[in-house]
Symmetry: C2
Subunit: 216 residues, 2 copies
């Protein structure tokens, strides 16, 4: 029997769930995965819907605290367990820049990257047809976003500064999938973006997330 008090209600192939797994592994925290079967709509009905009324994976429990939304969950974990594992957030002014790049991930990168993941990876899993016009449009947009990342990553090793933080970590699930598609050229053609991708994809905590999938 698991002694973990932390529970992630999620799925191995949910990118938002993977964000939380990666954070928990970086913090060297034990957790229990409570699998939610999205194919049977488990995320849209009880008991999950009581944990997240918006019906989106993942939800999270730490003792009597229940949270949802991967980015909010990770902020909680990083602050509440500041003394464990990798320091993923800061106090004071240094956190301000990390916050900016966390918002950039959420509002500039993810909306485009998630669409590309859906078109180029998830659609074929569901027997749907990729819309190449959407792919072309989103690739152009992602290229513009990554041009700005290239400048930023020429100034600092990571998005939030000299160290790996949540601002980098939150990109991992989408980048991992896109690196297995034609979109990888957009990352690899930009030297600083390419080096950053290689560094974050090689993190032991992220490799543990991939191992969870492989062992399933």
């Amino acid at each position: 029997m698991s002694t973990a008090t932390m529970k992630v209600h999620g799925a191995l192939f949910s990118t938002a769930s993977q964000r939380v797994f990666a954070c928990l592994y970086e913090k060297q925290l034990e957790f229990e995965l409570v699998p939610i079967d999205m194919r049977t709509g488990g995320h849209k009905k009880e008991p999950f819907i009581s944990l997240n009324p918006f019906g989106q994976l993942p939800a999270f429990e730490d003792g009597d605290l229940t949270l949802f939304d991967s980015r909010a969950i990770n902020l909680y974990i990083a602050h509440a367990y500041a003394d464990k594992g990798t320091q993923l957030v800061y106090a004071g002014k240094q956190m301000a820049t990390v916050s900016v790049w966390m918002e950039v991930e959420a509002h500039q990168f993810d909306p485009v990257a998630s669409k590309l993941v859906f078109e180029l990876a998830f659609k074929s899993m569901f027997g749907m047809t990729t819309d190449m016009a959407v792919v072309e449009e989103k690739e152009a947009k992602l290229g513009q976003v990554l041009d700005i990342y290239e400048v930023r990553l020429s100034q600092s090793k990571y998005l939030g500064g000299d160290d790996f933080t949540l601002a980098d970590l939150h990109h991992l699930p989408c980048i991992q999938i896109l690196m297995g598609t034609q979109v990888k050229k957009l990352f690899n053609s930009r030297p600083h973006v390419s080096a950053w991708c290689a560094a974050i994809l090689a993190r032991p905590a992220w490799l543990k997330v991939l191992a969870m999938q492989a062992n399933n």
Copy 2:
């Protein structure tokens, strides 16, 4: 001459800029507005683009610190000036629930509300025609989101708990505009949502933001 060290590079009618003005007034902090003229593309060229390479209002300066993205700016202000004005964030576990509802605003409320603001308010200002099919679709979606807000606001006076926080504040600009459109019925037909809207729209700090526009 102003002695304010804080500068908001923004515009009076930019909802994202208004979010930052509201936060600064809640914290009783002096600031200088550096107006960016969006009609002439001021947000897409220098000097603004050096402050925010994504070309979106607002950007923010506090001494030698430069930030962009309204939500990241507000998190910085609320934490850096914790001892001033209204306490808009918490330390520890109490902040976790505020973070969840900040993400709800950003990912569930704002994408729908912003589209409705564009269709029902901004389009007529630009001489464009409202697409009523889009309005109908987004109203249905907003109704679903507000059903969840209604349950939440029956449990606590504000989204993040018993007190007004950034999770509430970030909704103000879009709600203010939508209350002047047909969408107000979606807020007013839900008693707890309606009471919450009335409470947050009446905050003195928000009235100061409206006064900025009126005095222009």
